[in-house]
Symmetry: C2
Subunit: 371 residues, 2 copies
């Protein structure tokens, strides 16, 4: 960002901001950005395009002598993926002023029992607990926020369309569940005497799928991405199991119904299998976000001026934009990605599509910063 | 063993033998022993009692001036638990002359890709591949083999009986199964487009239980002790899953039918879920073993002479004895254990019960070594 001539600041959790002052710097700025962290065994386009693309979308007009009315800011959000501390969009969630998150982070630890605060400190951030609320941004800090991202779905590639204009972001809910049974020797404990925590987990995983399909809506999805058994030996009946479940929808109520049904199923399983539900915890259960009409229009106009095809669409993946929508009008620009693959090494976007996305972002920022 | 005055030798994989020469050392010896390795998060009685108990059962008569006709040998079997290389009773299986195992060990690796041969070498064993067959013992090396062990089931404790006399050991089969799907983003890939390798694994885990229960026999058991998902992130649809399955029975045919049904289910799941069965591998599928009538009688007589209660019973856990039965007449002595717990930290046997077991073993060895 410094090389692009932006003035850089970092906040107490590692969100990084690069600012280009506009002609009227006292006005709310227009912001753009994304994240560069990734899940294990993932690709290198998810998030990264929205950060490098944002820098490019500012560098080019800056070089060409364009003077924005409103200041422009690039934001590199920290910890969008819920990998180390289990919290998705940690950076943008804090920027949007989540008091709940700021409080819970005081006691959050990773799988090795390293606290969030220690991890932040060892990276040179948050010196004390109070710093977390210093991250909160005031509503009105930005007049608009736009994020460029790969679609992470197959629609644009399938239909041969260059640009997706996001009208809404599906609302994610994340759950952790733990069952506890008696364990024991795989040969010696007879079937009627078992309280197999692993089979309880398998039943719940299949129940998640059933409840999602029962919604009857194509927009409802649910996934068990983590299922771990303890002690994890072939000749040992699992005494504990741990699941992490993700479910999302563009309809908050419908998704909350799925969460409730998962809870009911977990309770029912404890009864039929004689296991204990030692944990059922909603990590986050966010409302969906709608894009701002004026930003949708600005992106649409930009694609037309560039003679690119576009399509209004829903984001079924969540993004930092979901939380930025709580702070300011929000919009997202999607580009096609190979077979809709994401969160795996095959993730890919062509130079042409990335270039189209950056051009649309550039024009959109120019338009939004002029109002 | 050296402190007990035994002459000690080790073989090329780390089985350890301690010998007390009898009055007629040219006769086949009587052997006893067990293992001291353990699964993760296990207890400290499974196996260990049969080794320390065996040393004590030789030390005491030796001190008292008893002279056995046949030599007595204590065997400490290596790697009874299938923990590092996935192969249960590795030491006794090789002693029993398994050419298949000796061959497959040439290419076997652990989860960190360290080969069995390298691991053995770094522990000071097997210098070259040919050493593995040097471990094989000739049929007739022993006239009898007896193993002392905790029951690993609740029957003796429940019924207040001191000694279990094993008449048969249930036959274990171990399988590994892997499913491969497409993976992808937990939000972006719609439900009809999924090939979730994790849900395939959950379905198979429940199918294992169903097929076992369908056998209608209380002696049939089946366990999914290991179920792993890749990449293992809450927001990623599992692209791969890995299961390890244990099933056993005292009836070989009935157990083999369960293995076949599990295979059929795995194939069926690939069709309904559009996943690939990238691995379905029978690690071992052993026949059950019957105890020798003369050894059963010797143990029964010993318990009567000691005024202890006893019960004929089946071992549903497998033991090194299962493989020693291929080499020589075999018998097992069980003692009660707390709540039947095994393969977990709560595993426990009282001093009184251990002492009873060692006394019965001592008398049994004395009897068997006199014939």
């Amino acid at each position: 960002m410094e090389l692009a001539g932006l003035s850089v600041r970092e906040d107490a959790v590692g969100n990084i901001f690069g600012r280009w002052d506009g002609v009227e710097p006292e006005l709310a700025a227009v912001a753009t950005g994304s994240h560069i962290d990734a899940i294990p065994y993932s690709g290198k386009y998810d998030g990264v395009i929205g950060v490098l693309g944002a820098i490019e979308a500012i560098r080019v007009p800056k070089r060409s002598g364009f003077k924005p009315r409103r200041s422009l800011e690039v934001i590199l959000f920290t910890s969008e993926e819920p990998t180390r501390f289990g919290i998705g969009s940690l950076g943008s969630r804090l920027l949007a002023g989540s008091e709940d998150l700021a409080n819970s982070l005081k006691t959050t630890t990773d799988i090795q029992n390293i606290s969030f605060l220690d991890a932040a400190r060892s990276a040179g951030y948050s010196k004390n607990e109070d710093d977390l609320s210093s991250v909160f941004l005031k509503k009105g800090t930005y007049s608009a926020f736009v994020e460029l991202h790969i679609e992470q779905g197959p629609i644009l590639e399938d239909e041969g369309i260059s640009i997706g204009i996001v009208t809404a972001i599906a609302a994610p809910a994340s759950l952790t569940v733990e069952f506890e049974g008696n364990g024991g020797h795989a040969g010696a404990v007879l079937m009627p005497n078992r309280n197999d925590a692993g089979l309880a987990a398998s039943e719940l995983a299949l129940a998640v799928e059933r409840h999602v399909l029962d919604s009857g809506s194509i927009d409802t999805v649910g996934t068990v991405g983590i299922l771990e058994l303890h002690p994890g030996a072939i000749n040992s009946i699992p005494s504990k199991s741990h699941l992490e479940i993700d479910t999302r929808d563009i309809d908050e109520e419908r998704r909350n119904k799925v969460v409730e049904k998962i809870h009911q199923s977990a309770i029912k399983i404890t009864k039929t299998r004689g296991v204990k539900l030692s944990d059922f915890h909603v990590i986050n259960q966010d409302p969906p976000a709608l894009s701002d009409e004026a930003i949708i229009k600005a992106v649409e106009t930009a694609t037309k001026e560039l003679n690119l095809t576009s399509k209004l669409m829903i984001s079924r993946a969540y993004h930092d934009s979901l939380f930025m929508a709580r702070l300011s009008p929000m919009g997202m620009i999607f580009i096609p990605c190979y077979k809709g693959y994401s969160h795996k090494p095959e993730e890919f976007a062509t130079i042409q599509d990335m270039s189209n996305g950056v051009k649309v972002l550039t024009l959109t920022l120019a338009k939004l910063s002029s109002h």
